[in-house]
Symmetry: C2
Subunit: 337 residues, 2 copies
Amino acid sequence: MYTEPTTFSAEEYFATQPPPPTLDHDIEKVREFIQRQNKEGRSVVLVTSGGTTVPLELNVVRFLDNFSAGTRGATSAEYFLKAGYAVIFMHRQFSLQLFSRHYSHSTNPFLDFLEIDGPLSDANNSNDPDAAPIISVTPEKRADLLEVLSMYKDVHKAGTLHTLTFVTVNDYLWLLRAVSQEMALLGRKSLFYLAAAVSDFFLPRQKMSIHKIQSGKGSLHIEMDQVPKILKPMVDEWTKEGFIVSFKLETDDNLLLPKARQALERYGHQVVIGNDLHRRKFEVVFVSRKESEFDEYWLRIDLGEHHGPAHHAKEIEEDIVAELVKRHNAWIEKGKL
Amino acid sequence: MYTEPTTFSAEEYFATQPPPPTLDHDIEKVREFIQRQNKEGRSVVLVTSGGTTVPLELNVVRFLDNFSAGTRGATSAEYFLKAGYAVIFMHRQFSLQLFSRHYSHSTNPFLDFLEIDGPLSDANNSNDPDAAPIISVTPEKRADLLEVLSMYKDVHKAGTLHTLTFVTVNDYLWLLRAVSQEMALLGRKSLFYLAAAVSDFFLPRQKMSIHKIQSGKGSLHIEMDQVPKILKPMVDEWTKEGFIVSFKLETDDNLLLPKARQALERYGHQVVIGNDLHRRKFEVVFVSRKESEFDEYWLRIDLGEHHGPAHHAKEIEEDIVAELVKRHNAWIEKGKL
């Protein structure tokens, strides 16, 4: 059976696709967070991070995914916090998170640097927690962990981080719209850092199969529709004063600048950060408009710049965030004229 | 462009699809591990865990995935270790792992139960690690963590766990073949616990697009071929004496038993464990052959059975593993007749 692909406008999308069940609850918490930050005079950045999925079945067994561990988003969010921003971190479930990203279960498992002090005896059979031996971080890992842990505790105390999770591209689109609308309250003090790897395609609920697609009937055909271009209504309707930064990831170098310029032209937002799949850890390009011209600003780091422990290696996100904070502040000032 | 789907036999698959670049290196380590366990007289179980991906591009941005956090595999592997088995844990990169699974970054983040003892002062600017304040596990989390950490350390010391990772279905197939062939050395003392969620479909390298598929040209069409039925050569050629347990996940209850029986009939291995997507945490069915009949053994747990801290909640994998160890031992004994 072949069905003609449908092109959805954002409006049609939201009129036909169901919201995630926790949307209202999630947004109520976002609203409280934004109101508090606004009262305390902070700028707020929405950082989106990780890949979105497109489930092929309602009882989902298989899905299309976009490659992203969430490094760009989680790392940048830490630098935004350091720069004094409040952060709404909207990330794919199980993608990397701030702080704990330094201790992934595969590369630097935290169990490796814990040690049991004192004899085990039969203390673990006791119900008195004070009778259990002390477990502490090995001396050689202490200094390393201390910086991360201190910042983690400070941020929790200050209440400047709010976390939201998505899985599907549908979750993502509904959340993005609702959060953008809430952030309108902040006027120019809102920054959007859209680093999530969002699917360009989706399967409308009306076309999804209910149960697991059976194999044994030959090959698999999937026919997907295009996800509406969400930046357009974001700029024009949801958050008219927000400073919006989107990302363009390509694997073909020749497409990077043309695609970035095309996005700016089409949606009229502030910055597109272009990155090549294989060079994204040390090279990005900021594309923006300067009157009727395009402005390109290349940012590169030397990956050899290592000093101190592993997590002190230079991260390009430090420079990306510094540059954006500068541009965002100029944008805020301009709004006061 | 429409290309006729190809049906690959396992032999054709390996003749046309390239092995992962680290295969030889990975298998050398597996061989050493198996030889050592064999010398020390242990049974070895291969536990596969997590979902496989099917990349759509050579420079991969998008991929098809199979839903699986890796809970079944990681949990079962812990119980196999407790039962005295050596474990080869072959899992999807970033899926849940043994031990650390109890402390996922989202549900029980380990940074939450670490505390900094002593004043921070400027110790973090010092290069002397002994000058840094001590970081230890909070008393209320100690007893909980102690059991996990002790087992983690014991297993590392005994050298009874070997970990391998895969990402794509191609990685998985090549690794599975090579590990099975190595495990043949163990004769009947080898158990295969194939809990990974393996794609039924794949995109032959010859049909993959080199660069990121561009959107903006309408909808996405994907046309995939069927993955060869790998259990057949596994049983007939690679590991003739191994005890093989495969899994069947369905969302439609009516298909569970027929599909499980069909698999046994087709491949002639020992057990199919059938599970329904929504009931898999508390109900599974073992399907096996008894002479010319099918034998069905339902295993259910009461999810209310909680005693003690969170990670002491009853896990169905404990009972699955106990049942399999019994059956595997009977199989080993039968081989001695």
